[in-house]
Symmetry: C2
Subunit: 106 residues, 2 copies
Amino acid sequence: MTAKLPYYAVIFTSTRAEGDNGYAGMALQMEELAQEQPGYMGIESARGDIGITVSYWESLEAISNWKANADHLVAQRKGKIEWYTWYKVRVCLVEREYDFGNKNVF
Amino acid sequence: MTAKLPYYAVIFTSTRAEGDNGYAGMALQMEELAQEQPGYMGIESARGDIGITVSYWESLEAISNWKANADHLVAQRKGKIEWYTWYKVRVCLVEREYDFGNKNVF
């Protein structure tokens, strides 16, 4: 993707609690739901000792709306109770970007 | 870590080429070298289908200096030739942050 700068990135880093407890299904559901939101641009995700998910958005308003989405609020609540022992959210303005090589997905 | 806002995040997303070709050793070396740079704040890394490494810096100047570091330039060159089929770098201003739970590392 070559997006028009600037845009926003939300960096979500986390450590998981033991067991799935419905996490995988909800994560997929939230990813699909995020894609339907106005201002959504894309998502990238990886997990090792910690998980890092970065979602990309056109504006702060789009991020606020997604944070306040009713189904997403349910997921956020379950996240604190069942899925995560720790997480950190950083809302960032993407000021510059450059890439190398080709990748077909975002 | 609770850092003084704003600070900078460099989001490095990548897809790896086949084989190690000295990658793991160099990655460790670069992480250690980054930690010695002025303005370095921390690093978070995870790999699944793609790799995501986010490094945190006090200023754009600190990021520029690290990008221009001689040993890092060697690693960057090898990255294009041997280690990555694709990567993308995003330089971001962290405007807001919040967290949940406790984690002892950055």
